[in-house]
């Protein structure tokens, strides 16, 4: 049996709740006791039997005969189960209509024969188009108020057709009804005897549930990473396409990749997961993946960029203007964005674009957004959650939007927030603005163990995630700050001290500082810790001497073996292995990508601001 979800739209008095109440009664779904209760409530308020009371459960709704918030009504016919979402028509409650419309398969638009298409109806039709509704039914209601129901219907049907045509929308049917008397709802009545088309119920029967595409491009949205029995399980949902065990997944926007070892659907393991499935994946490599990542096949990826052209519906109580900093939720990621420009708003009266400086509650507009991080989004994949987003202001959802285009891999101007570097700014303020805390991540290890390579890879990844990050590399600093120092034990200590001091200043300024220094002596490293004791992390980049020497990136090992370098760590000078590093990164037995992922994950978990 099919199950179809339908939203009711129309102006406040068009009779949406009455149509649903009538549908319930005429299908025999209301018990005699409930009907009696309805008569009592109605007569208590001095009105004839009011079918909408079946839906309007709040006292104030019954008293004022209006619907205040979304409600749902289940209607069972022999062939189908319908869930109707009844949304109020008030302008100030547009958020409820949008909330309702975002979860359904079709819409029924109710137009009162005596009123025709009102401004409110125009606005709601704009939302339907914005959501991309293909299935719309129209009911011309209140024919009981017309002198000539047939003429009234024909006039309104022509008006509705012309209006929806302008929006590029084509209703599946336009049916005449009189909800109060029930004509045309479940069966024809005296007012609709002339009508040869379907009743509302017949027309509803032609609607289908919107199916998700199992053959579309693969999208797997990551919600979380769980650890079970020493395994890392990537929890999330397949939103489009079909995921097969054994295939290679690329995670965006960081572009890390690994093969899917197992697909868990507790208590089972499965061979594949189709669109809509909630699963947990075990990967064959320990690459960095966290909440917000989008998995796809490498060849069929979402678009990447730092800015997006979007169409939004603004819901915030206060208007929005260009330049406002907001947060965007795209899939399961939350990203700081700046509204760079309002390109235009759609005028609900004329349906024409108009220039504007601000969007008010209920306005539909085209706006460009600039992100502080690289975003991965879909522009033409309806079932992908990274094709639609919400905007938040102070933690509250203030807009819904659709991504029309992803632009520019380069960073946009609008995202730059300039922070005055004075002592009048507290550390917690910097953390709040950056969205992360500062810290020193001190990479120690033998020459050619991979410290700088890992540091640079992680710096890139952190930068793409919008983090404030800088690498202090030992060799590089020896060409500037530490140019006066040699390789005696004392000079090595001073080298560490100066580097640690600079790192501490950067960290205090809110930066994630990655230091890549051999720093062979444990005592020096402890000294370095004291430069920024509240967030210093010793990270041992471990690599056996044979492997490191085999790499010998700079040819130093060769020279040391020939006796040309008198104080070369590992050959002619000792290296004190860290006894209790905060993290160990083993580059001898792992690929650089895996080592970088491990470090990235460690850093992210230690600079998180909440």
């Amino acid at each position: 049996m099919k199950n179809v979800r339908i939203v009711m739209v129309g102006d406040v008095d068009a009779g949406k709740s009455t149509i649903l109440g009538r549908l319930l009664v005429d299908l025999g779904l209301v018990t005699p006791a409930k009907l009696e209760e309805l008569e009592t409530s109605s007569s208590k308020r001095g009105v004839p039997i009011e079918y909408s009371f079946l839906l309007d459960a709040f006292q104030v709704e019954r008293d004022q005969a209006i619907t205040l918030d979304l409600t749902r009504i289940w209607v069972r016919t022999p062939d189908a189960e319908f869930v109707f979402v009844d949304a109020p028509g008030h302008r100030e409650l547009i958020r409820n209509l949008l909330s309702g419309a975002s979860e359904v398969d079709a819409a029924v638009m109710v137009v009162a024969a005596d009123e025709g298409i009102t401004l409110q109806t125009r606005r709601q039709a704009l939302f339907l188009r914005w959501f991309g509704f293909a299935n719309v039914l129209v009911a011309i209601n209140k024919l009981d108020l017309a002198e000539d129901p047939r003429a009234a219907y024909n006039a309104r049907a022509a008006e509705v057709t012309a209006f929806l045509d302008q929006l590029g929308m084509h209703p599946r049917a336009i049916v005449p009804v009189a909800a109060r008397s029930g004509d045309g709802i479940v069966r024809p009545g005296p007012l609709t005897m002339w009508w040869t088309g379907p009743t509302l119920l017949d027309a509803l029967g032609t609607l289908e549930r919107a199916a998700v595409r199992t053959d579309g491009p693969l999208r797997f949205v990551v919600q979380d990473v769980y650890r079970r029995d020493g395994k890392r399980l990537i929890a999330g949902r397949v939103e489009s396409g079909t995921l097969e065990r054994g295939e290679f997944l690329t995670f965006w926007p960081l572009q890390t990749g690994a093969r899917v070892l197992t697909i868990h659907q507790w208590p089972r393991e499965v061979e594949r997961a189709v669109a809509g499935s909630s699963v947990a994946l075990e990967l064959d490599a320990r690459v960095f993946v966290d909440r917000g990542a989008v998995g796809s096949r490498a060849t069929d990826a979402p678009e990447l960029g730092h800015a997006a052209q979007t169409t939004v519906v603004w819901l915030g109580a206060d208007p929005v203007r260009a330049g406002e900093a907001l947060r965007m939720r795209l899939g399961t990621r939350e990203i700081p964005v700046t509204l760079q420009k309002i390109e235009e708003a759609i005028d609900p009266d004329t349906l024409e674009p108009r220039e504007t400086q601000e969007l008010r509650s209920g306005d539909v507009g085209v706006v460009s957004l600039v992100a502080r991080e690289l975003i991965a989004a879909d522009t033409h994949l309806a079932e992908s959650s990274v094709g639609r987003f919400v905007l938040l202001r102070a933690g509250t959802i203030v807009a819904g939007g659709r991504i029309d285009a992803v632009v520019g891999h380069a960073r946009g101007e609008g995202a730059t927030n300039v922070v005055a570097m004075t002592s009048s700014v507290e550390r917690r303020e910097r953390t709040a603005r950056n969205g992360h805390a500062g810290g020193v991540f001190w990479l120690t290890g033998l020459p050619s163990s991979g410290k700088s390579t890992v540091a640079m890879a992680v710096q890139r990844m952190l930068f793409e995630r919008g983090r404030q990050v800088y690498v202090l590399d030992g060799d590089t600093l020896r060409t500037s700050l530490n140019v006066d120092l040699g390789f005696s034990d004392d000079d090595r200590s001073e080298n560490v001290r100066r580097t640690a001091a600079v790192a501490g200043v950067f960290a205090d300024a809110g930066f994630i500082v990655i230091c890549a220094l051999i720093s062979p002596f444990a005592a020096d490293r402890e000294l370095a810790r004291s430069a920024y004791p509240n967030a210093f992390h010793e990270i041992y980049v471990s690599c056996d001497l044979v492997t490191a020497e085999g790499r010998d990136v700079k040819g130093h090992y060769g020279r040391a073996r020939r006796g040309e370098l008198p104080h070369f760590t590992g050959v002619s000078s000792p290296y004190e292995v860290p006894q209790q590093p905060e993290l160990l990164v083993d580059t001898a037995s792992h690929r650089i990508e895996e080592s970088a992922s491990l470090l990235l994950e460690y850093i992210e978990s230690h600079v998180r601001s909440r």
Binding site: T71, V274, S278
Partner: protein, 267 residues
């Protein structure tokens, strides 16, 4: 590839919601009334978190549940290794005395929940309510913010677009999370049957009567029914016009009884 069937789709959405709650709201607890809905939900919690239940599961205990309910609880806690906590509700004399009598019993649970949240500082409470149960619940959001006193303001609910939920609440306030909101009574029984989820035997008919909805023994009454198996319950529900909560005295004492209970924080 065939698409997901209807029950799979409902289940996958519930798991998505549970995982969102666990990732974004902390600390978190779940209320388990031990009825069919929250037990099916508990089964899906185990699915979402690969066999574990990563937050406390709380019974708001008025001491008035049916004996069979307590026995079922003890059995499942052992079988599923549940991190269960019993929260004793304050006596009836402490609740709003202007409520009708059965609603006063129910309000004890509201008071118990309020005390629990205040003591443990929970920012999220997971509940197994459904929209088709009751007209007021039909207006709920999946993530429903509550004020510091636990009250619900249904007239200013946040937008809930697609599957973007309101996670953030001010300190002291909390969010109610309703992962079963989109299920119906029939869906729950069909799913319980398919997944072989245990349930309290009081739902099955004995001597022509069965419980369709389980509440405290003093304010819940059985309905006339011969459905003594899940298959028969499903067949019965496919044709019935009677509301699910017909046996729950608190719902129908006065026109606004349930609305009053809910706006002050009832489940």
């Amino acid at each position: 590839m065939p698409a997901l069937d209807y029950l799979d789709e409902l289940e996958a959405r519930t798991i998505f919601i549970l995982r969102e709650a666990f990732s974004c709201v902390s600390p978190l607890a779940m209320l388990w009334s031990i009825g069919k809905d929250s037990t099916a939900l508990l089964w899906m919690v185990r699915k979402a978190f690969l066999g574990e239940v990563p937050f406390p599961v709380v019974l708001l205990d008025t001491g008035m549940e049916f004996e069979e309910v307590y026995a079922f609880r003890d059995r499942l806690v052992a079988e599923w290794n549940l991190p269960v906590a019993n929260e004793a509700c304050p006596p009836e004399s402490t609740v709003d005395q202007t409520l009708p009598p059965a609603a006063r019993h129910a309000a004890r649970k509201t008071a118990g929940l309020r005390a629990l949240i205040a003591r443990e500082g929970y920012r999220g409470i997971i509940l197994g309510i459904r929209r088709d149960e009751q007209a007021i619940r039909a207006k709920e959001r999946i993530f429903s913010p509550r004020n510091a006193d636990g009250s619900w303001d249904p007239r200013s609910q946040p937008p809930e677009l697609w599957e973007y939920y309101a996670y953030d609440v001010p300190d002291g306030a909390h969010v109610r999370i309703h992962p079963l909101l989109h299920w119906t009574e029939l869906d729950i029984w069909r799913y319980t049957l398919r997944e072989q989820i245990p349930y309290v035997p009081l739902y099955l008919a004995k001597a022509g009567k069965r419980f369709r909805s389980l509440g405290e023994s003093n304010i819940t009454f059985p309905i006339a029914s011969n459905a003594d198996s899940l298959e028969k319950i499903i067949a019965e529900l496919e044709v019935t016009r009677d509301p699910e909560r017909a046996g729950r005295a608190m719902d129908s004492e006065s026109e606004d009884a349930f609305e009053r209970l809910r706006t002050t924080g009832y489940m």
